[in-house]
């Protein structure tokens, strides 16, 4: 049976090995689901969040995961809208990655809010001035889009496509994929932006607050750009990881280079703007009665963090990705991609955690917070959920069309 599900012409590891691989993830998932249950049944006192750290690990991860998941929309955009055929090799994988990231993020949000059963109020009584409303709307829509984009990949399964209606539906859906790609891109631009706006609009948090361009703070645009920049890098990383784990070459080397090139050219653009924005911020923040230097007084969050974010994990990988010679060397290429992703992860961390840790009132103190096991477990559950979905998709679906060709040649 298992054999009948694996696409013709590709080889996959034995069922036994496969089970051995997914078993640990299943266990992790189970633990995480227990933690989730605790949080829903007993309330968020199970976490280490508090009135000052009202956002914690979860929100931080949502922002990160969604930034990395941006590869899905951006690859889709390049392939279907800008007709960059090279990317056909990774689009399926990108869609699955995107689906995992977004569904994971939404799931965690469901636990993070205190009254999940009232979440739909946001759709019925929306405050359109709130960035969070924008985020909620876009993410729910885009998750639907991703789910739809995922369908054809599933229907292409060797067994399923034997069913005529499924095959035809896949075919018809695939014809209209450009629509979804376009809609998805539109939505993604908005919610990547509004995630940035989320913190940029906080008048009361001069560390995060940014002046508005039009109706959105600068972080709105920086987030879009940064997400678009690392998205391809992340696709590159996951593809590379998949091929390392499965010990197969899944795409032609030039695909890696191409992804790296896109990533690099966007990243350099982003870093320049980010630097400008930071300069501007340093000069305006003092008018709010806060000293920019003061924000970096605490050793944990010293100026090193700013340097690391912009130079070490921003400028450096950008330049690396832009140089043809680095791209030619896969080790360096992957390293650069990883650094770029790390840079964004750090940026999201600074936006969420550092903003809350910093005091505002004259009698405030600097506060730190360590997530409880329930918080960590919940996150790990999402991770293992992702691993499982991807593993199954990789085994039974055609994530990398080039794989067969590469093997047959």
């Amino acid at each position: 049976m298992d054999k009948q599900l694996i696409a013709r012409g590709v080889t996959r590891t034995s069922l036994k090995n496969f089970y051995l691989w997914i078993l640990p993830w299943c266990l992790l998932l189970a633990v995480g689901l227990y933690a989730v249950f605790l949080c829903l049944a007993k309330g968020l006192n199970q976490t280490n969040m508090d009135n000052r750290f009202s956002f914690g690990l979860w929100i931080y991860l949502d922002l990160t995961v969604i930034a990395l998941g941006a590869g899905a929309f951006f690859t889709g955009f390049l392939l279907y809208v800008l007709k960059r055929k090279e990317l056909k090799a990774v689009i399926n994988s990108a869609v699955v990655i995107g689906f995992i990231c977004y569904s994971g993020a939404v799931a965690v949000l469901g636990v993070d809010v205190g009254q999940p059963l009232r979440s739909w109020f946001t759709f019925w009584h929306p405050n359109v001035h709130s960035m969070l409303t924008e985020v909620t709307f876009c993410i729910t829509c885009y998750l639907t889009v991703l789910a739809i984009e995922y369908i054809p990949v599933v229907l292409k399964n060797r067994k399923l496509k034997k069913v005529p209606s499924m095959l035809v539906f896949e075919f018809e859906l695939h014809k209209l994929m450009v629509v979804f790609a376009a809609v998805g891109t539109f939505l993604s631009f908005f919610h990547q932006g509004s995630l940035g706006g989320l913190y940029g609009v906080l008048v009361g948090r001069p560390f995060a607050f940014r002046p508005a361009l039009g109706i959105w703070p600068t972080t709105f645009f920086l987030f879009i750009l940064s997400a678009a920049a690392v998205g391809p890098s992340f696709i590159m990383l996951t593809t590379w990881a998949a091929s390392k784990i499965s010990r197969k070459s899944l795409v032609k080397p030039d695909v890696y280079r191409y992804l790296g090139k896109i990533s690099g050219s966007l990243l350099i653009f982003y870093i320049i703007l980010k630097a400008v924005d930071t300069m501007f911020w340093i000069n305006t923040v003092s008018t709010k009665g806060f000293s920019p230097a003061g924000f970096y007084r605490m050793q944990e969050f010293g100026t090193w963090i700013l340097f690391t974010e912009i130079v070490v994990l921003g400028l450096v990988p950008a330049i690396m990705l832009l140089s043809r010679r680095v791209r030619a060397n896969q080790k360096l290429l992957i390293t650069a991609g990883a650094m770029a992703c790390a840079g964004i992860v750090l940026n999201r961390y600074v936006m969420t955690i550092q903003t809350l840790a910093l005091p505002t009132l004259p009698f405030d103190v600097f506060m730190s917070y360590v997530p409880s096991w329930q918080e960590v477990a919940t996150f790990l559950a999402v991770l293992s959920y992702g691993m499982l979905v991807y593993s199954f998709s990789f085994r039974y679906l055609t994530l990398f069309p080039q794989e067969r060709e590469i093997q047959s040649v």
Binding site: N45, N127, T133, G204, G289, P362, Y369
Partner: protein, 256 residues
């Protein structure tokens, strides 16, 4: 005294020189607004204190160390109220008829975005189910509904009392409440009358006169959120410390 024609903007002036930090305002507030007592696991960081008395000191070592107490509740910001614009489902509203920044817990779904937005840390999340020890729930105030776990709440300037005052006005056939009928629990129970409550829109009212005095100040004034809670002190150092904000502080607390 009847209110002036234009709708009132209620506010407070708190004389920190008169505040002994006894904590009456905190418990009176909790009693008035049915805020539950702490469960065993609750800490300073997960507690529910709509009104919280904090210590402000001049940072000098003993014995030069001077300190005052600042009772900080919701500052009822007047302009681009940080928490109001961010709430995704309109659970926070600027009440045009009283200037109160209204928090409606039954609309709230506990995303806590407003808490990250509030620079005064005046918003509190129900981390626990509310629990009153056997029978104490019989002493709850019927004018305020008890909140459930998983929502954000904060000082609404004892809006239950405002509603009562309005009802009384209606019964007397008056359009607006009379300010003599409406004061907050914290102001009422302050043993040194450090907290004064009234209508800032009425130039004749005590609070608006006090709020204009040179000894008056507000927290994080530079943010431009225009709080309606004023503080006043004759002590120079208090003004200096309040001016330079906490980013210069080096204290650190940790949890978890």
């Amino acid at each position: 005294m009847e209110t002036t024609q234009k709708s009132p903007r209620y506010g407070m002036v708190i004389d920190v020189d008169r505040c002994t930090g006894c904590g009456n305002c905190m418990v009176a507030c909790a009693v008035e607004n049915n805020v539950p007592p702490a469960q065993a696991k609750v800490t300073e960081r997960t507690g529910m204190t709509w009104m919280r008395v904090s210590k402000l000191d001049n940072g000098l070592p003993f014995p030069e160390n001077r300190s005052v107490y600042l009772p900080v509740s919701c500052q009822q910001c007047d302009h681009h109220t940080p928490c109001q614009s961010v709430c995704p489902q309109n659970a926070v509203e600027y009440d045009i008829e009283s200037g109160i920044v209204a928090q409606i817990p039954v609309r709230c779904f506990g995303c806590r975005y407003c808490m990250t937005a509030c620079p005064y840390h005046a918003r509190y999340y129900n981390w626990f189910d509310p629990e009153w020890a056997d029978g104490i729930e019989r002493t709850l105030n019927p004018d305020v509904s008890a909140r459930m776990r998983g929502v954000v709440e904060k000082c609404n300037f004892c809006h239950g009392r405002l509603q009562a005052a309005r009802a009384k006005a209606a019964a007397d056939g008056r359009k607006t409440e009379s300010e003599s009928d409406y004061t907050t629990a914290c102001a009422e129970c302050c043993p040194t009358q450090a907290i004064r409550f009234g209508n800032l829109a009425d130039p004749k009212s005590e609070v608006s006169i006090l709020s204009k005095s040179p000894s008056a100040f507000r927290l994080l004034e530079d943010l431009g959120t225009e709080p309606k809670v004023y503080f006043r002190s004759e002590q120079e150092w208090v003004h200096t410390i309040v001016k330079k904000t906490s980013s210069s502080e080096l204290k650190e607390h940790s949890n978890g």
